[in-house]
Amino acid sequence: MVQAINNALDIKLSEDKNIVVYGEDVGVAGGVFRVTEGLQKKYGAERVFDSPLAESAIVGTGLGMALAGLRPVVEMQFDGFSYPAFNQIISNVSRMHNRSRGKFNVPMVIRFPYGGGINAIEHHSESPEALYAHIPGLKVVVPSTPHDAKGLLISAIESDDPVIFMEPKRIYRAIKQEVNDEKFTIPIGKAKILTEGTDVTVVAFGAMIRECQRAMAMAEEAGISVELIDLRTIYPIDKETIKNSIQKTGRMVVVAEANQSFSVGSELIAIANEEAFLYLEAPPKRVMGFDTIVPLAQGEKYYMITPERIFYEIEKTINY
């Protein structure tokens, strides 16, 4: 996935002089996960560069650039370090278009690796998608495969609205996939049905897709037909796809790493009720992170969601 993201940046940098890429360690070193490797060499230090260590200013300057016609792609080094920029994001980035009555667009991407499962210390395992999805004016995108990462990132960079682009760091290098070298895009705002099924709808995104697929293998053995939906975009959320699926299966299980309360899982249950109430045969279920801080490495075995746990909850939902 790292390579696919790098390739997406490469394609856009070569195509559009207005694109600049910066953040902490993204220039000379090519990023702590090597996502921007080689890009400074190729495009020069005016277009791909290291900034001082200050997330609020990274995002705030990015907004300024966007207002002046550039298309910045900024990196927050980790999920937990997007928070110093939270005020800029919620107070300005998401609002400038509306505040100026459309006089200014904000074509800007804020990318960061997210999620747990890499034995990291505190603040390096966060899944803040609900925080950003709750903010009106943003788009929030999470890819689950190298292919999607590339297509969605290109769409994000081409979007005239600000996009929060969350990269599942756990599968940065774990999933091998041949990705077409050419330019292609994947639309923001559309979920993808990965597998069709009839008994239960499983909605997930990012690194959890892989875990869901493993759980599906178990479910299949148990004779349960799962429809697996990769949300791809958290906001604007694709209610249509979710609705159609639940109307077909009557059941939903949401799988996500984030703290479960006041989360994307909560929203999906609300959507299930609003869009498919009469079809529901069992309460939609969240298989999500506890409402605790993501534990340090030793505790992740409890916190991180396993295929077993997903299967267990699928089964419970089926047997409701």
Partner: protein
């Protein structure tokens, strides 16, 4: 460079005329034509009249909360004379004079304080950002714009403003630090009007002054008498030359006084004395410049009739704002994204349905 002579470390202040309009540094008086000086005074007068009228509209219940600009006119007039048509303005919220200079209209300003976002879509001022309310956050926008200018090898510059209180926010330091490292053409002005609402600048920081904070970012800084039009003009002229020639950002502390309340919702008598207000009143930028012009014999206008003329003009602008198209549901939903997502369309439709409802069961 004037920045070298007036070293903020030594707490020097750039001042050209005194409170009586007498020239105390003849070597520094900018060579402006008499007409230009008179014109500067008139723009200051216009801003002051506009400010008085805004407050009165608010008192009449025809406008919502409004933050007075009274006392800041010299800063604004000077910046307004230096800022060019292709330069950018990234305001905080107490820079009406500079906004007007860039082509923003009083109608737009009134519309904004009347509670309508269309007042921030400055039709004749493409390079002016909307008023920025979250203190300090505007400065990094200015730096980003500065970067884009540098990136494109243009020689436009960016003017941005912040208050004394705003210097305490982390965003202030981050932005000036970025500006130093990136060497971008941004002129930062701190309008040090002594207060952040009720909090005096002595509670904000223990640095000897605010200009000296520039040292932390490796950019030039200068403390200027913000009630002295000529001093401000000189500072901006030099700052603009510096920025326009690729030498990077500068920090100007403009020492002034917020003569009015923080906003129309505020009552300064709760936290400052009449004596203090009177003392600062002596250096009010307007009588000061007027006295200068009178000494020089270049002031020949009738201020009262000018005032009447401005009042008229401003009132027309206000009426235009008052008669602006009524706020519609589209105004709530229509500008969130460049294209409205399905979800918002649906929320809007549902609300429209509700609006047609007559209360069936009642």
């Amino acid at each position: 460079m004037i920045f070298d002579e007036f070293n903020p470390s030594e707490d020097k202040i750039l001042r050209v005329i005194d409170n009586d309009g007498e020239v105390i540094r003849p070597d520094l008086i900018p060579d402006l034509t008499d007409e230009t000086v008179v014109k500067a005074y008139k723009t200051m007068l216009f801003e002051r009249v506009a400010d008085e009228m805004a407050i009165s509209y608010q008192r009449q219940g025809r406008m919502f909360t409004y933050p007075s600009n009274k006392g800041h006119e010299a800063i604004h007039a000077a910046a307004g004379m230096i800022i060019g048509p292709d330069d950018w303005l990234v305001p905080a919220f107490r820079e009406i004079g500079v906004m007007l200079a860039k082509g923003v209209t009083m109608k737009e300003i009134f519309l904004y304080y009347n509670g309508n976002e269309h007042g921030s879509n400055f039709k004749n001022a493409p390079r002016v950002l909307p008023v920025n309310v979250p203190i300090g956050t505007q400065l990094s926008h200015a730096v980003g714009i500065g970067y884009s200018i540098k990136y494109r090898k243009k020689n436009d510059i960016v003017f941005t403003f912040i208050g004394d209180g705003g210097t305490s926010e982390g965003d202030f330091s981050e932005s000036l630090n970025f500006a130093g490292v990136w060497q971008v053409p941004v002129i930062f002005t701190i309008q040090n009007n002594q207060y952040a609402i009720s909090v005096p600048v002595s509670t904000q920081t223990k640095s000897v002054n605010l200009a000296v904070k520039s040292i932390a970012f490796g950019i030039p800084g200068i403390k200027v008498d913000g009630n002295d039009f000529f001093a401000m003009y000189l500072a901006y002229r030099e700052a603009s030359e510096h920025a326009r020639t690729g030498k990077g950002a500068v920090l100007i502390e403009a020492l002034t006084y917020r003569s009015g309340a923080h906003t129309t919702s505020d009552d300064p008598s709760r936290y400052r004395t009449k004596e203090e207000e009177e003392r600062w009143g002596l250096s009010d930028p307007m009588p000061r410049l007027k006295k200068f012009m009178e000494r020089k014999g270049i002031w020949k206008e009738d201020e009262d009739s000018l005032r009447d003329q401005y009042k008229n003009e401003i009132d027309n602008q206000f009426l235009e704002a008052e008669n602006f198209a009524p706020y519609s549901l589209d105004d709530v939903f229509g500008y969130m994204y460049t294209e409205m997502p399905e979800d918002l369309k649906k929320q809007k439709e549902e609300y429209e349905q509700f609006l047609t409802w007559k209360g069936s069961r009642r």
